[in-house]
């Protein structure tokens, strides 16, 4: 970059105000790119955060409702019939998968094969849990990535901006604060956006990872209990 251009582009800033828009507008295009990227990251992080918050809240509530219904003494056949069309949450999906396997073993084939039924049901439930957890965890890695890489990206913009401001010092042969300040302000703006994107990302990632863990454990607990119930049934019938 031509130092004279730097001085030209920086010097008008000294007289005008240092609002956010001016800071952005006078930045080098690399710094602009970094800022825009970080802004997009921030938007995406918050979108994921809103989405996941809603998803987990709903999932938790429907699990509560399902467990109440499950332990209320209601017939499992009826429960299966009401849910089989559209299992709308992970625990229902788990229940439906296990019940389907059970029913297939009882109703589909004439010779009832109890031998591997227990194992089959457990396998089916494990696969369902894995799928459901995968669904819950989707896009959480984005949060982790933004949380760890955001400050670095912002720092890159800062370093670039400070380089620009030093170039402007060299061009104007003047080390007064008025020459240095705009460059440093825009540079620090990049770091600020990086932090703005990274801090919520890290917090949300930790929160959501804990939530996913909790729900996965709950699913596994339910799967174990349900497997125990089915195993008792198998033993009674077999």
């Amino acid at each position: 970059m031509n130092p004279a251009d730097v001085a030209q582009s920086v010097l008008p800033l000294t007289s005008s105000d240092l609002s956010l828009f001016t800071l952005f507008w006078h930045a080098h295009w690399i710094v602009k790119f970094v800022m825009l990227g970080l802004m997009a990251c921030s938007v995406w992080v918050w979108a994921i955060a809103i989405d996941k918050t809603v998803l987990y809240t709903r999932s938790r509530k429907s699990m509560d409702r399902f467990e109440t219904a499950f332990w209320s003494g209601q017939s499992l056949e009826e429960l299966y019939r009401s849910l089989s069309s559209k299992p709308n949450h992970s625990m229902a999906a788990l229940f439906v998968a296990a019940m389907r396997e059970w029913k297939r073993s009882f109703e589909g084939s004439p010779q009832k094969s109890f031998a591997g039924l227990q194992m089959r049901i457990e396998k089916v439930m494990q696969v369902t849990i894995a799928r459901e957890v995968e669904r819950l965890e989707r896009r959480l890695l984005v949060l982790a990535t933004v949380g760890s890489a955001g400050p670095f990206v912002g720092l890159f913009g800062t370093v670039w901006g400070i380089m620009t401001s030093f170039q402007s010092i060299a061009a104007s042969k003047n080390t007064s604060l008025a020459v240095v300040a705009p460059g440093i302000a825009e540079a620090l703006f990049a770091t600020a956006i990086g932090l703005v994107a990274a801090i919520p990302a890290t917090i949300f990632y930790n929160k959501f990872a804990g939530e996913v863990n909790k729900q996965a454990q709950r699913l596994e607990g339910f799967a174990d209990e349900f497997a125990a119930i089915l195993s008792r049934q198998i033993d009674e019938r077999g």
Binding site: L20, W46, A47, I48
Partner: protein, 297 residues
């Protein structure tokens, strides 16, 4: 909920926050009161090395500053001048003014009025009119010399010198108690803090005589150093002092090492290369940390 909805909500939130930030975060210029400028004297290197004893904030003298001096250096005693009484010179005494006046012109009417009385009067005035020079005055007695200050017992305390009687008085050529510009540590009219001093400081910093050197007493080792213009050695250091004994050898070798290690001697400016191209440097064990005279060639 679809991720699209969440994205829309998130975008809206960001736009709101950005709008708020743009409105609220406007860099206000700091209100700064212009700092009072202080007059600063630029002291050149040469002037700095010739600082005289004084205090920092003394008024700046117009002419050459005088170092503080409390005691005069010894001077050859002047012959005592005899005090001679002054005698006023003789003055010419002018005759009285009245006498100078001419006699009034004769008034015919008055003459007629006082025909008899006038003539004798006229004569008298004529007699008085004769200039009578006064006798010359006697020379006045010799005046007493300027009178001595009166002895006032109440003011003895004020007259006493309350300073430490054993203090080190500063001796110079001229009595001067008024402080002039200078440093507190200055001791001479012209310090020699110069390139040679820098060289000395460097060599003494590098010179590490052996531990037993203190016992050997005052050992002086003179080393002839020949420099090149860039401050490196033109030739190996040449020891001029001869001596023997392990301590002397150790000190000598240490001094030679110091000379070799210290190059290049960038404190010596090439402008004066003629002055320092060959230096006889004296390493003095007794004055390791004090000022050492350096003999130049």
């Amino acid at each position: 909920m679809q991720i699209k909805t969440a994205s829309a909500i998130s975008t809206g939130l960001h736009v709101l926050v950005l709008a708020w930030a743009t409105l609220s975060f406007s860099g206000k210029p700091f209100e700064t009161t212009p700092a009072e400028s202080l007059p600063v004297d630029i002291v050149s290197e040469k002037e700095f090395s010739q600082l005289t004893k004084g205090i920092k904030d003394a008024p700046k003298p117009v002419e050459m500053p005088k170092p503080i001096v409390e005691k005069k250096a010894e001077e050859p005693p002047k012959p005592v001048e005899e005090i001679k009484p002054k005698i006023d010179e003789k003055r010419e005494v002018a005759p009285n003014k009245e006498v100078k006046q001419e006699p009034p012109p004769p008034d015919p009417i008055a003459d007629k009025l006082k025909p008899q009385e006038k003539p004798p009067e006229k004569q008298e005035t004529a007699a008085k009119a004769e200039p009578q020079p006064l006798p010359p005055k006697k020379p006045p007695p010799p005046k007493p010399q300027p009178k001595k200050p009166e002895f006032n017992p109440d003011k003895i305390a004020a007259l006493l010198d309350k300073r430490d009687p054993t203090r080190k008085s500063i001796t110079g050529n001229e009595l001067n108690s008024a402080p002039s510009l200078g440093t507190a540590a200055g001791s001479a009219a012209q310090l020699s803090q110069s390139e040679i001093d820098a060289l000395k400081a460097r060599l003494y910093a590098l010179w590490s005589p052996p531990a037993g050197a203190q016992d050997a007493g005052n050992v002086q080792i003179t080393i002839r150093i020949k420099f090149k213009r860039d401050g490196t050695l033109a030739a190996g250091p040449q020891v001029l002092t001869s001596g023997s004994g392990p301590v002397f050898n150790a000190m000598r070798d240490s001094a030679v090492r110091a000379v070799l290690v210290g190059q290049p001697y960038t404190m010596l400016r090439p402008d004066h290369y003629e002055m320092w191209q060959e230096i006889d440097f004296v390493f003095d064990s007794s004055k390791m940390y004090s000022d050492i005279p350096v003999r130049r060639q």
